[in-house]
């Protein structure tokens, strides 16, 4: 299957996000079942996962750029921008939903830790959806 550098790059980010934050949310979900979760430990775990994701993202994109040097130097053109905008549009609506859910959580006084994780989950879903939409349009055409 012939896929462009941009598709490889998006696919890499998508896989990294799913693996790292899949693990993160499984861990958090288990911790939330504890009646007295250690909040500082969970916050520390969150930052460790974010730092881990940044390091893996940078390393994998450097590796991709070295492996596909010629394609990596290709810039973005109008088609890339249209695909980017279509993905952002859908992600935006998912994030709006996240903000609304967070607003409701504040009103019904859910724990800030749960509320923050719900918001983070929606942010990750928006990110995954955006990347999936980009891959879809790159493959199918617009």
């Amino acid at each position: 299957m012939n896929i462009s550098f941009k598709e490889k790059s998006i696919l890499t980010s998508l896989i990294i996000t799913i693996l790292i934050f899949g693990y993160y949310f499984i861990y958090i979900f288990r911790a939330m079942n504890d009646p007295n979760p250690n909040e500082s430990e969970l916050i520390g775990f969150f930052f460790r996962m974010v730092v881990l994701m940044i390091i893996i993202e940078i390393a994998s994109h450097i590796t991709l750029a070295i492996a596909f040097k010629k394609e990596a130097n290709e810039g973005y053109d109008e088609r890339d921008k249209i695909i980017e905008l279509k993905a952002i549009k859908i992600s935006y609506w998912i994030l709006i939903l996240g903000v609304l859910i967070t607003g409701v959580n504040i009103i019904i006084e859910i724990s800030p830790l749960i509320s923050a994780n719900i918001l983070w989950l929606i942010f990750i879903i928006a990110e995954i959806t955006g990347d999936t939409i980009k891959l879809f349009y790159y493959k199918r055409g617009i």
């Binding site: 290709e74 810039g75 088609r79």
Partner: protein
């Protein structure tokens, strides 16, 4: 796969221009090779700006490169 209603002769024009590659055309018009590939396969309708730049490369009119097909 979505097919555009805008047909084009870019493949033929490239062949007639000393078998210009997609990459060469892409560089001349300031687009990526993938975009030229998608235009040729009727999977992407370029902006008017890009369409004119493509026609200018081959020194032909816009209608000689692109045609609208409303059958679909």
């Amino acid at each position: 796969m979505v097919k555009s209603n805008i047909r084009n002769n870019i493949r033929k024009l490239r062949f007639n221009a000393n078998e210009m590659t997609q990459q060469e055309l892409a560089e001349k018009v300031g687009a990526t090779r993938q975009t030229i590939h998608h235009i040729e396969k009727w999977k992407y309708s370029p902006s008017l700006d890009l369409a004119f730049r493509i026609a200018n490369v081959f020194r032909v009119s816009l209608e000689d490169v692109f045609q609208y097909d409303d059958i679909n």
